[in-house]
Amino acid sequence: MEELIQIEGVAKSYGAHRVHKELTLSIHRGECFTLLGPSGCGKTVLLRLIAGFESPDAGVIRIGGVVVSDPAAGVNLPPDSRSLGMVFQDYAVWPHMTVFDNVAYPLKLMKKSRQELTASVMEAVGMVGMKGLEKRLPSELSGGQQQRVALARALIAKPSLLLLDEPLTNLDANLREEMRFEIKELQRKLETTVLYVTHDQEVALAISDRLAVMDERGKIRQTGTPWEIFERPADPFVFNFMGVANFLPVRNEEGKYLVGNGSQPIPWEKPEGGAKDWAAAFRPSDVKIGRGGEGLRGAVRRASFLGAVMDYLVDVDGASLRVSAETHEAIAEGLMFEDGEDCIVSFRGLHWFEAEKLREALTASAHNNEGVRA
């Protein structure tokens, strides 16, 4: 597949603060690619490097084969000669221009004829569902409508690359869901390449063809399709970042893998490797809770009814895990537990991580995970 953006060995620091070092990434033409990471990880900086608002300290950035930034060769194209489209988190719709003038601005700069301009603007405005509002000023629009204007403005010049910087963050939850499908729809229809930056893993999974997960230090931990990222996380950081995570401590005692501080051996596939301490990682939905059968013995410490699902906090030999069960399934199978009842837990699937690596990943994200988990 042809690569539209190539980032090779890019480094960027602000004073003593190193945001990126040796970052390498490529994005295919026509795909919707998401940079996913906690806030402050440098994903926006990377976007701004690609847009040309910042210049890298080292490395090369190519867009469509053209070198746009290469400090070693003294190349740094300004944003206006990179022919991109961009949508900002705060919309950045010009408050002194009408919807029409906002959307028309890129074409005005290209000196298009009045006729061509009007036709294109009307098409773009229609495309984002804003027909009839062209005469309005941004102050007369809702946040969602302003973001549609920004989208139309970014798309009107038919850029090969559309950059989206957390465009849905300032919208309310319903609108956010609606808009993310619309963006995906537009991207498919126009066959534009989209680079989307967000800290919201749900959006990332929903709209991406591929995504890259970045950690706090600006390092890319894993690149892949949403399915790969979710089901085959490369490390505990990625696993933890992609949703509510349980980590069950397991220790290796003379070839036996024992859970928590108790003596129950793990009844499933064993980890591969020589480490002594391990963590079995799984999501609440990966756990089955029952009253008998094969599994680990535990006790329900807290049962919470959340409507569609029951949420249990289960204690297994000093380790606690979150387990969820669909409410009417639980009722049908007699699995409505109460606080203090004994239970058996087993797993549909799990990942093994070395305890050492898990600790590293969790301390790194501990001070910076607000808004990360759904």
Partner: protein, 564 residues
């Protein structure tokens, strides 16, 4: 090695930065530095002993002491008056509060030297109308009050400066979260205790900050002391600087004295502003909520009418009376005649507007100077603010400092610095031309423009410009299409913030005028000094009309803008 790509952004930034630094250095930094240089540098070496000698001369020492006395008295008086009225109009059930509040702010608009002239007409020991009235009808042998005194100067300054405290305290009292007081009340505190223990401590920072502003202003104040003090030989620092420079036509000794006094003034002003900054930064105990609340109102009961009459009398006595006197005297055939219908006419007004060259020139000079200074400063200000607010360049802190410097540099000091810089010593001689006044106005009002424009630019989020850049706009195009239209209200505000005060400006232009380059303020002042009292008063009346009309127009115009 620089590439094609790098040049455009680099070039624009460099041009703007270079121009900004150049303007501020030439217009602001050089004159102020020259003051210090001339004060402390004698015959090629640093000489502090000579500075001490100058300060210990009786005249200079007395002027320093006078500045302090007058500033102290004025500050105390204004703080009491301003706080009291602020409390009355925000926290009591005084009738017609809104109107009263508006009236208490009127002195902001009026030039205090015109007020001083009016009080001279009313209370000068022999000729003052009030003094004469009492001597005539009550058989007093001497005047009831002599305005040519420390007390007279301080009283007049209080009348014109108390709004500084008034407006600050009003703001604090109005924005103060009433739950703070209500919770004290629920805890069983009486209104008196609440006022003493809660309200006053909470508004104290506002009171102090307003008081310091008054102190700064009064110490460097020229007009009132010039009009009322010279008769009895009361000089403060600015009037002494003026007298020395003016009488000696720029001799070396007088310039030395001037620069030493100016340096002291700048140092004192810097100290005051530093103190004010400290108080303001420490005093914001998060008590002031952004929203407007309905504060608790004290029922004045039996005192309601007496206090209302007191306020009305104060307004009548300090605002209406002097204004009326100016207009009446301006209508007299000769100063000294009683105010009867046959003695009053519009002849003076007609004369100074059409036939009298001095006043016609003065009006023309003030309007063109004010307009040019406002336009130039508006554009320079928006550019420099852009560098300060938006550009990521090293050393912009220096720009900010230079731009705000004139706030702490009194007008007479700026004028002196401009004389030092632009009277031929360094190749350019603007002395005795209208250009030297223009340069001084630009230096003096730059800070106003920077404030208004910075505030407007802060509202223009970076992403708005970046959005234009990704749409294909160059730096210049983005500035033209996005930044300029959005800061236009700020620029307009800057224009009027400069144009209106410059119409009544006296302190700077009095030091710089030549026979043909009088401004309105200078003409009023010199005519009055020359005994042309009726013409001076007529011109003052016209100036008042222009100033008040301009202010009302701006308020209506800009007020509507803000709503729409």
């Amino acid at each position: 090695m620089s590439s094609l790509g790098k040049k455009p952004g680099f070039g624009v930034a460099q041009v703007i930065l270079f121009l900004s630094v150049a303007i501020l250095v030439v217009v602001v930094a050089v004159p102020v530095l020259l003051i210090f240089f001339n004060a402390f540098w004698v015959n090629g070496s640093f000489n502090i002993r000579d500075v001490a000698r100058i300060i210990s001369e009786p005249d200079t020492w007395q002027a320093l002491v006078n500045s302090l006395i007058i500033a102290a008295g004025t500050t105390i008086g204004s703080t009491i008056v301003g706080t009291f009225f602020a409390w009355l109009v925000t926290r009591t059930d005084l009738p017609c509060k809104r109107f009263m509040k508006g009236m208490f702010l009127v002195p902001f608009m009026l030039p205090s030297f015109i007020g001083a002239m009016a009080w001279k007409m009313l209370l000068s020991p022999r000729a003052g109308f009030i003094n004469r009235f009492f001597m005539l009808h009550f058989g007093l042998s001497g005047p009831i009050f002599n305005i040519y005194s420390y007390a007279g100067i301080m009283l007049v300054e209080v009348m014109y400066l108390f709004p500084f405290v008034f407006i600050q305290v009003c703001g604090a009292l109005e924005r103060m979260d009433p739950t703070l007081e209500e919770s004290a009340r629920i805890s069983g505190a009486g209104l008196f205790t609440i006022t003493r223990k809660i309200t006053i401590p909470l508004v104290l920072p506002s009171i102090l900050s307003g008081a310091l502003l008054i102190m700064l202003y009064s110490m460097a104040h020229f007009g009132t002391v010039a009009v009322l003090g010279i008769e009895n030989g009361i000089f403060n620092i600015p009037t002494l600087i003026y007298q020395r420079i003016h009488q000696s036509a720029g001799s070396f000794a007088s310039i030395r004295t001037g620069t030493v006094l100016a340096a002291i003034l700048v140092a004192a002003a810097a100290l005051i502003l530093w103190l004010q900054g400290k108080i303001l930064s420490r005093g914001h105990y998060q008590i002031i909520a952004g929203k407007s609340f309905r504060p608790m109102e004290l029922k004045l009961r039996a005192l309601r009418m007496p206090l209302f009459l007191f306020c009305a009398a104060y307004i009548g006595f300090t605002i209406v009376l002097p204004t009326v006197v100016i207009f009446l005297v301006g209508g007299l055939k000769t100063y000294g005649l009683p105010f009867t219908w046959e003695n009053l006419s519009l002849d003076n007004y007609k004369f100074i507007l059409s036939a009298y060259k001095v006043t016609r020139d003065a009006i023309w000079n003030s309007v063109t100077l004010g307009f040019s200074a406002a336009v130039i400063t508006m554009f320079a200000g928006v550019m420099i603010s852009y560098v300060i607010v938006k550009m990521k360049v090293r050393g912009k802190g220096i720009l900010e400092f230079l731009g705000m410097l004139p706030f702490s540099v009194p007008g007479s000091v700026i004028a002196l610095g401009v004389i030092l810089a632009w009277s031929g010593r360094y190749g350019v001689n603007l002395y005795n031309t209208v250009w030297i006044i223009l340069v001084a106005y630009i230096a003096r009002y730059m800070a106003f423009s920077l404030r208004a424009n910075s505030a407007a630019l802060e509202q223009v989020h970076d992403s708005l410009v970046e959005a234009a850049r990704v749409c294909g706009a160059t730096m210049w195009q983005a500035l033209r299409d996005v930044v300029l239209p959005l800061v236009r209200p700020g620029m307009l505000a800057a224009f009027f913030l400069i144009f209106l005060p410059s119409l009544r400006e006296l302190t700077v232009s009095i030091m710089l005028y030549a026979p043909t380059t009088r401004t309105i303020g200078v003409a009023i002042y010199t005519l009055n000094e020359d005994g042309e009292t009726v013409r001076s008063a007529a011109l003052a009346g016209i100036a008042l009309i222009i100033i008040v009309a301009g202010q009302l127009l701006v308020e209506r115009f800009l007020g509507k803008k803000a709503q729409g």
